[in-house]
């Protein structure tokens, strides 16, 4: 599993260190030092994953995140010195899939990167149904009445995880492990924010979700299949 990773960070020492770690794990790092040039480098490098510092000169991390997300579903992992709810949630809402708060260990960084790059090699063609949606798992396509709905890989994974076991209620911790690859307890806000984002794309009325249903005090489950 090799991949090109774009590291957007203005702290050159940290960027270099991240580069050393990534290279030692067999990834190919590409660097960018400010927010303004980030999109251009992203387009030219075509990375498989973006490591994005939130505090950047020029355009800030949130803005860069939004711009990249507008044209690509590539996994984005934020590097944040702030783990305050607002900052994290803002980043996640801007389109980031995951975040790592500084200071982090090399192992943590590699684990996050691996988890986001891991493409499930699921056996055989698989078609799932959830609500009135059909999911073509190997084709990474979700459609309603033949019309395709564009999801990021993470949102897709989240939906597939729920759709595979429609009878099961998933706690946030289980989803964190299944979709994000966290072994230990982590920030459940990741789940909340991404469920909201997913709902805004697939639900008829995101205020009254029918496909990803909240089970109060436990977690989430897939809604009844209607098609």
């Amino acid at each position: 599993m090799k991949g090109r990773v774009l590291v957007v960070d203005d702290d050159t020492a940290l960027a270099e260190m991240i580069g050393i770690v990534l290279r030692s794990e067999g990834f190919e790092p590409v660097f960018c030092e400010d927010g303004d040039s980030a999109l251009g480098i992203f387009r030219s490098a075509q990375p498989d994953l973006v490591l994005l510092d939130l505090m950047l000169p020029g355009k800030d991390g949130y803005e860069v995140c939004r711009l990249i997300r507008a044209e690509s579903g590539v996994p984005i992992v934020m590097l944040t010195a702030k783990s305050d709810t607002v900052d994290v949630v803002l980043g996640l809402e801007a389109g980031a899939d995951d975040y790592i708060s500084k200071p982090f260990k090399p192992k943590e960084l590699v684990a996050r990167v691996r988890a986001r790059l891991r493409r499930s090699d699921e056996p055989a063609p698989e078609h799932l149904a959830i609500g009135d949606l059909t999911i073509d798992v190997p084709g990474h396509r979700v459609s309603r009445d033949g019309e395709q709905i564009s999801l990021t890989p993470l949102e897709f994974d989240l939906l597939v995880a729920l759709a595979r076991k429609p009878w099961q209620v998933f706690t946030r911790e289980v989803l964190l492990e299944k979709v994000w690859g966290y072994r230990h307890a982590a920030d459940t806000r990741l789940v909340n924010v991404h469920v909201q984002r997913l709902r805004s794309k697939i639900e008829h009325d995101p205020e009254k979700p029918e496909i990803v249903v909240t089970v109060r005090g436990v977690g989430y489950k897939a809604g009844a299949t209607t098609s």
Partner: protein, 578 residues
Amino acid sequence: MTAGGRRGRPRWASVWRLLRSRWLRRLRAGLRWWRQSLQVRVLASTLLIGLTALSLVFVYVGQRTAAGLFDERRDQVLLESFRASQQAQQTLSASTAQTAAEVFVLLRGVTTEESTGGPSSPEVFMLRAPAQPAPGQPAPVQVGNTATDPTLVSLISDGLRAAVTDNKQHWQSVAVVNPTTHQVTPAILVGQQVTVPVVGAYQMYFLYRLDAEQRRLDFLLGTLALAAGALVLLLASTTWLVTRQTVRPVRRAAEVAERLADGHLTERMPEHGEDEMATLARSFNGMAASLQDQIHRLEELSALQRRFVSDVSHELRTPLTTVRMAGEMIYAARESFDPATKRSAELLSTQLDRFEDLLADLLEISRYDAGAAVLDAEGRDVREVVLRTVDNALTLAARKGSWLQVDLPAERAVADIDPRRVERVVRNLLVNAIEHAEGTPVEVRVAADAKAVAVVVRDHGIGMTPDEVAHVFGRFWRADPARARTTGGTGLGLAISLEDAHLHGGWLEAWGRPGQGASFRLTLPRRAGMTLTASPLELVPPPEAPSSATPLVGVSRTDPAALPEWTGPFDADRQEVP
């Protein structure tokens, strides 16, 4: 005793209690009113003083007037009655009556004549003088007494009758009671001796009623009372107005002061005019302004300091990340180093861990200080959170040789919690307990009732003194600075835990006794925003039974049926812990 007897008494008792409580309540309400309102007090004292002064004036004026009227009338009456008795004496002396019957007619004539004319004419009585020791010659004729109103004869006292024998005028003040209306009228009784032909000495009495004077006095007093009433009313309303004018600004000042105390620092008193109240308002506002200024400056300073701590922590993070990663790389390659460099790499790695923990805690506490901590509450089963934390603490417990004993309720204990924070609190408590348990078991109990969920972490280790309990939530406070810190706590753990509990609207409390271990209780409301009143678990554990001194009352130790009879602390244990 009997049911009937019991039924009867409580009814009266309850009625009495009810009445008494009502009176007490009224009395208390009145007293509170009295205590709380300056206006009421001033008004009441003014009224009291005014009423007393007016009553004194009223009594004095009444007495003086009555005495004056009486004296004037008495002088007039004495003169009049003297003239009348002179006239009667002349009539009597000029008469030619010889027989008893003639004398009686004469007397009747004199009596009626003197009593006629005018509404203020007197009643007249002609009474035989008390038997005087006449020189030998008893009166030849016996003639009865005459009177215009015989019913009033009894008013003439024996003393007066005895006094009148000396030929001088004597008087006496009497009260005449109207037999039908029972109205009492003051009157003056004047007596003088007259000589009646044939029968000898008679006493002639005149009774002058003082109705006119009484009426004048009544009228005067009535007017006076009316004036006094008006005066009191005037006094009361004046006092009310004056105190209102004085009290209102004071009340306003109190209100403004209260609002200031509540944090509305911009609140000010209105300043009108030049009087003392305006001065009060001005000085008050001056004080408020300087207070606001001072607080504002302190707030700014404090915010600056907080931001500094937060900024430093943030700025430290990026270089720390680089150092940390470099350290890890070096640590991973340590096997290829010589022993000294290898050990250095290990130290670097562990100390970086510590540094990182400290920085994280510092940042967390600075976030609390800045008021930036946000509760991210969701309905979660506290049992799950606790269980997960216990799982994570197993390795540490095993290393320290402590058993973890977990007691969870059978039913779900869902509460609105921020799982990240609650987990941190429980982790802190657990690590703390394991650290201080010294190999003894650590108990974790969870219980829930309708309003709250509680987690108690108890160890049986070295314990704490009450003084240590009081400081245990302090920042960078350590029970024993000399103790080795094996797990390397930052010294901020419990302080952050306390803030975490408070952010939930919950409690975090500590208990400890030297040698008996310590107990920490976290109580969280089940719904965000609810106010806690009680905890489902006891913080203070029931006293431990010294195994050798367990009392056993009156039963054989071998008898299994005796077991419920144990009165030792284990029973207390069972009762106290729900």
